[in-house]
């Protein structure tokens, strides 16, 4: 094999996995009113797209042809074409939308309206508000079960997770959690619900069948004051065995064994880590670090931070686009 052939072979070997796993992480920058798009292989910002005021929650539809953005201070949810970066239209979201979740039917957007103490359900096709449901004060976290039957809103001041029947739009249960619940996710095929409490410094795990508390995860990092440990966003590996929990101003992401609910590791990331997103192949985790204005990339297998990428001011939400 001549040197040129060998070089070509090496280039092909390095190029193939890039094509296989390349994707994008879309990060909303709260203070810059824009989105930074990060290439998951090159680990750099490849596009910056303007949005409405104070973009926070961000999610893609099922085929990733649309991206929904909570423009909180514009009091609207913007619908963007991710190819062109153009805002196609806006959805009536109610006041100050912060987080939302798209139902498995790919049609109903469940939005937490922080200032109004309501959860708004919007039909993204008719662009009409389908329902507004009274919940606790300062709703923030939103989750929907994989079968689409239960929606969860967490309210920061009431310190509750509100369980909503999506068919009737009625709250059928309220469960107390620790102070300032921020984020909720269903896991294990919808059998468990996890809710993070920012001030309480815990993650509460519920059995969905009877809304009973299954356990509580607590965190302690050597050398970090307990007050700074404020869990916010979290994500599960595809096998559901491991959870990564962003710990806010503790500047760490906790690695939690989702079976035993024990913390296995802490990963140092940027300042005030808020939300997380996996690369399409789940080999890398991207964390939005609000205060340091960057995104830390973590190797999921080794649990080592690889790089921190500068984005806009106060990155908040993150979503994956294959």
């Amino acid at each position: 094999m001549g040197p040129r052939t060998r070089l070509a072979a090496i280039l092909m070997m390095t190029a193939l996995p890039m094509e296989a796993s390349a994707g994008e992480i879309w990060v909303t920058n709260e203070k810059d009113d824009n989105i930074s798009v990060i290439d998951t292989e090159r680990l750099e910002v490849v596009r910056t797209i303007p949005t409405g005021e104070r973009p926070r929650g961000i999610t893609f539809n099922a085929d990733h042809s649309r991206v929904y953005i909570c423009a909180s201070d514009s009091d609207t949810v913007q619908v963007m074409d991710p190819e062109t970066g153009k805002i196609l239209h806006e959805l009536p979201s109610g006041e100050d939308p912060e987080q939302f979740v798209l139902a498995p039917d790919d049609r109903h957007l469940w939005i937490a309206n922080e200032d109004n103490a309501v959860t708004t359900v919007v039909d993204v096709e008719t662009r009409q508000v389908v329902a507004q449901i009274d919940v606790g004060i300062e709703p923030e976290g939103m989750a929907i079960s994989p079968d689409g039957k239960i929606a969860i809103t967490t309210s920061e001041t009431t310190n509750m997770a509100h369980w909503i029947d999506t068919a009737t739009h009625k709250v059928f249960a309220n469960t107390l959690v620790d102070s300032r619940p921020r984020h909720a996710e269903f896991t294990k095929g919808g059998r468990e619900l996890w809710v993070s409490s920012e001030i309480g410094g815990t993650v509460t795990v519920f059995n969905v069948a009877d809304q009973s508390e299954k356990g509580k995860i607590r965190f302690a990092i050597k050398g970090v004051n307990a007050d700074l440990i404020q869990p916010v966003g979290f994500e599960f590996t595809p096998d559901g065995k491991t959870a990564f929990v962003a710990l806010g101003p503790a500047n760490h992401v906790a690695v939690v064994n989702a079976e035993t609910l024990e913390v296995e590791d802490y990963i140092l990331v940027g300042r005030r880590v808020w939300h997380l997103a996996f690369s399409p192949d789940h080999s890398r985790l991207f964390t939005t670090n609000g205060v340091s204005g960057d995104v830390t990339v973590v190797d999921v297998a080794t649990r080592e931070p690889l790089k921190s990428i500068k984005v806009g001011r106060f990155p908040w939400g993150a979503a994956t686009r294959p």
Partner: protein
């Protein structure tokens, strides 16, 4: 000892020079092995810094990103290249101490009257001391790895030339100083006026931006300190990167200190001239 015969061939001269190199290496190795406490002492000093000092300033919330780091690190990770530099600095000075001792005991006279160029003898001495330094540095890196501060295999491998270059530079400084110091007792002055300022006024313990926050003058002094560049050369190499500026400054300082040492040991101009 007598001078080399005038008809000696070039290959014989080269062999002769190599014999001298091997002999000096052997002597330094024997001396090092004979002083087991020296290795322990060389390891204990940076380990105390790593385990006690760095733990106190752990910076669990992470240090700001400065090259070569690509993300946030704890203070323990930051300080390790500086502590490798500390080992090289102390060992370089220790070699200088041993030369002063050799001079007092008379064994240096024996060495310097060997029928070889003076610069070659000094070079052999420098290489021997530097190799010992490199061994000590890697022993420390092994203990640091056991403590949890690890680098990639490429980092360990890539750091070898950087550590060796830094060891040569600091060893050359030791040689230069040893040509200036007449008595063993004066070595305390070296500690006060060379080792401590060099170590503390560098990027070994704190990043330069941190120094700049305190005083721009302090930062400028740190930038002018060749030890800073030796540490940065090692730091970048341990993270698989080359810092060309730090490399150039380290090699430049090696040339200056080496030249100074050769001048200092020149019987016509340096120490001998002053003694006369």
């Amino acid at each position: 000892m007598t001078g080399s015969p005038p008809d000696i061939s070039a290959s014989k001269a080269a062999r002769h020079a190599l014999v001298a190199l091997c002999a000096i290496l052997h002597r330094e190795a024997l001396r090092f092995l004979g002083q087991r406490g020296r290795l322990v002492a060389a390891l204990v000093r940076p380990l105390v810094w790593l385990i006690v000092f760095a733990s106190g300033f752990r910076a669990a919330l992470g240090l700001s990103i400065t090259p070569p780091y690509q993300t946030y690190i704890t203070y323990e990770i930051y300080i390790v290249p500086g502590l490798v530099g500390m080992i090289l600095l102390f060992n370089g000075m220790q070699s200088s101490l041993s030369l002063v001792y050799d001079r007092e005991m008379g064994s240096m006279r024996l060495l310097l009257t060997a029928p070889l160029p003076r610069w070659w003898l000094l070079f052999c001495k420098l290489v021997a001391g530097s190799l010992i330094s490199v061994l000590q540095a890697y022993a420390f890196l092994a203990v640091a790895a056991a403590w949890g501060v690890r680098f990639t295999w490429w980092g360990y491998l890539g750091a070898l030339p950087a550590i060796f270059a830094a060891a040569l530079m600091l060893g050359a400084l030791g040689l230069l100083l040893s040509s200036l110091i007449r008595q063993l007792e004066n070595f305390a002055g070296v500690m006060n006026f060379v080792i401590f300022p060099m170590f503390f006024l560098s990027s070994a313990l704190y990043p330069l931006w941190k120094m700049a926050e305190a005083s721009m003058l302090l930062r400028d002094v740190c930038v002018a300190n060749p030890f800073t560049h030796a540490v940065e050369l090692i730091r970048f190499a341990l993270h698989g990167q080359a810092n060309w500026l730090a490399g150039a400054v380290t090699l430049g300082a090696l040339a200056v200190f080496g030249g100074g040492a050769i001048w200092g040991y020149d019987p016509a101009r340096g120490l001998a001239a002053r003694k006369a």
